[in-house]
């Protein structure tokens, strides 16, 4: 316990840099394809190979994506976008510099809403978002004597999203990344897949005594390839820094590497070895001007974002926050829900079907919603069929829904009719079943009359059995009670 109190004296200050690989067809500064998984060095050209005498041309789609995320986060969008050279030597950067934005990032300010550790909303400020290009890939393991270079990725467009040091715990960092990933997926600018490297994260971490206004010396941990690993690396780094300070050491400016197997960070570069990028304006690429009219056009194209949808679902459709968050977690699911509720007014039931039977079917078959056989309007039809009293819930879930899966062209009503599942709401036929049920269990009738009201379920079950599940349960229960209490 004493050990724990030491850690409790400190708080962490965390800022994240996220690189989002953009879902453009072609590269940032040339027309090479960005297609993933091709043979090495096939998506290349004299520009991406860094040949002398070549000139970059700017992909306007990357600008559109930058404006999109900027507007979604409430950033101010810069009109005059200059580019700069960031110089460093590495074999997978053939030009010897990366064309990036230094002093004029496309977006500044803005924020992303996250949940803190207690689940309360928290605003995380954004410092900047800028456009740049990816490097190629180096392979150090395939050849014992050489490093092998694949330049397919060299020049693929990136947006770097830099947060303010507003995060305080590994969980907040985790939540922030989850939000960023959801946002880029909703905007359809990046697939957000950290394991495949299309979204990458570097974490700046420092610690300070609680209540202190000064920042401690920070370290930067690189190459974190899952949200879970960002959480683990930050947790380790916080503890390591506190232990070092408590042992009388000083934290120095270091670049750390995270080992996912051991869960530990280790020094990759010290301050003395730090890069000096010698930024200067890129003279080969004129500044790109973004007109206000263009920004407004992009604003009008923006899809509904999770926060807006959650507000709509909880306030207009009276769903619980839990349901609303569950539905909006995945954009495709949210779009499916939007389609169902165009055709039915029973929003709660639509949410239950989607997050219940449909989600289980997707999980069991390991498919995504776009591969789900039943169209949303047919699900709405099923909901309305139940609400109209023509079939009951259990017939809907256990008979009609499974039949719809194999006959997606048919409506719920057609299926229910063909299979003779339409509910029996005719009191005279239900009374017949009731009479049969009662005469079958005379001693239970006595017990019921003596006060064992739980026996109603037994009679209900019997009537359902006799009617092959078609008896209207509400009517049956009413009639049964009247009959038993005679």
């Amino acid at each position: 316990m004493e050990k724990e109190s030491i850690y409790d004296k400190y708080e962490a200050v965390i800022g994240l840099e996220v690189h989002a690989q953009l879902m453009t067809e072609s590269k940032m500064y040339c027309s090479d394809s960005t297609e993933f998984g091709l043979a090495p060095n096939t998506n290349v050209s004299p520009i991406s190979l860094g040949h002398p005498g070549t000139l970059p041309t700017f992909n306007t789609r990357a600008m559109e994506f930058g404006v999109k995320i900027g507007l979604a986060c409430g950033c101010s969008i810069r009109h005059e976008n200059q580019f700069a050279r960031k110089n460093y030597f590495y074999a997978d950067l053939p030009k010897g510099y990366q064309i990036t934005q230094d002093k004029t990032p496309i977006c500044t300010g803005g924020h992303i809403m996250i949940k803190d550790d207690a689940g309360n909303p928290k605003k995380v400020g954004l410092t900047r978002i800028h456009m740049e290009e990816d490097s190629g890939k180096s392979n150090h393991d395939m050849d014992p004597f050489k490093t092998l270079i694949d330049l397919n990725r060299a020049g693929v467009p990136l947006l770097e999203i830099v947060s303010e040091p507003d995060l305080r715990t590994p969980q907040e960092a985790y939540n922030y990344l989850t939000e960023v990933r959801q946002l880029v997926r909703y905007l359809e600018i990046c697939d957000g897949n950290m394991e495949e490297g299309s979204m990458r994260c570097d974490a700046n971490v420092s610690v300070r005594l609680k209540g202190s206004k000064e920042f401690g010396q920070r370290t930067e941990t690189k190459n974190l390839n899952s949200i879970r690993n960002v959480f683990r690396a930050i947790s380790y780094e916080i503890k390591r820094q506190i232990d070092a300070i408590e042992a009388g050491e000083t934290i120095t400016q270091q670049t750390m590497n995270f080992d996912a197997v051991s869960g530990k960070t280790s020094v990759m570069r010290s301050k003395e070895m730090a890069h000096d990028y010698r930024y200067f304006p890129e003279p080969d690429l004129q500044a790109v001007y973004i007109e206000q009219g263009y920004i407004e056009d992009v604003r009008n194209m923006l899809p509904k974002l999770p926060a807006e949808l959650i507000q709509k679902y909880t306030q207009e459709l009276s769903l619980s926050t839990y349901d609303a968050e569950l539905i909006t977690e995945d954009k495709a699911i949210a779009l499916y829900y939007e389609e169902i509720i165009k055709h039915t007014k029973n929003y709660k039931s639509a949410a239950n079907w989607l997050m219940g039977s449909i989600k289980s079917y997707l999980n069991e078959n390991a498919i995504i919603i776009n591969q789900f056989p039943i169209k949303p309007e047919k699900i709405a039809g099923l909901i309305d069929l139940i609400d109209s009293g023509k079939i009951n819930n259990s017939i809907g879930a256990q008979k009609v829904f499974p039949t719809m899966l194999s006959n997606p062209e048919q409506t719920a009503e057609e299926i229910a009719k063909t299979n003779n599942w339409i509910q029996d709401s005719d009191s005279s036929s239900i009374e017949g079943y009731i009479a049969a049920a009662i005469s079958k269990y005379p001693e239970k009738v006595v017990a019921y009359k003596d006060g064992n009201k739980n026996l109603l379920g037994l009679f209900m079950g019997e009537v359902m059995k006799l009617s092959q599940g078609k008896a209207d349960p509400k009517l049956t229960s009413q009639l049964l009670k009247t009959e038993l209490e005679k």
Binding site: T24, E25, S26, S31, D32, S33, A39, P40, N41, T42, N43, V44, S45, P46, L49, H51, L55, P56, T57, F58, N59, T60, R61, A62, Q82, N87, Y88, F89, Y90, A91, S138, N139, H140, D141, M142, D143, F145, K146, T147, L148, I149, D150, L151, H275, D276, R278, P281, P283, L285, Q286, A287, V288, Y289
Partner: protein, 97 residues
């Protein structure tokens, strides 16, 4: 403005280059001469003059997001000093790997 030996060493390190001491002296001399040459520009009074980044007053070179693949893998690898059928080969850049 003149630079010293440590600056040359720093730049060599950033460029991942190694020099013999005799070469280093020569490079120091050359770099100082280059700086002296460029230093000439500072004789001009540029007070209040906007920095000039682009030499030509052209429209920015922008394009739509369309793929045009003009180079083949074989062509790309032909210019590399060392390559196999798929990859460009360079000296090991990571120690101990």
């Amino acid at each position: 403005m003149s630079i010293d030996k440590s600056t040359v060493e720093r730049i060599a390190e950033l460029s991942k280059l190694k020099f013999e001491p005799s070469e280093q002296a020569e490079i120091l001399n050359d770099m100082n001469r280059m700086l002296d040459f460029v230093e000439k520009l500072s004789e001009v009074d540029t007070e209040g003059v906007e920095p000039l980044i682009y030499l030509l007053d052209e429209k920015p070179s922008v394009r739509l997001d369309k793929v045009e693949q003009t180079t083949t893998q074989a062509e790309a690898l032909k210019n590399a000093p060392d390559a196999d059928t798929d990859y460009i080969k360079v000296p090991k850049v990571m120690k101990g790997r």
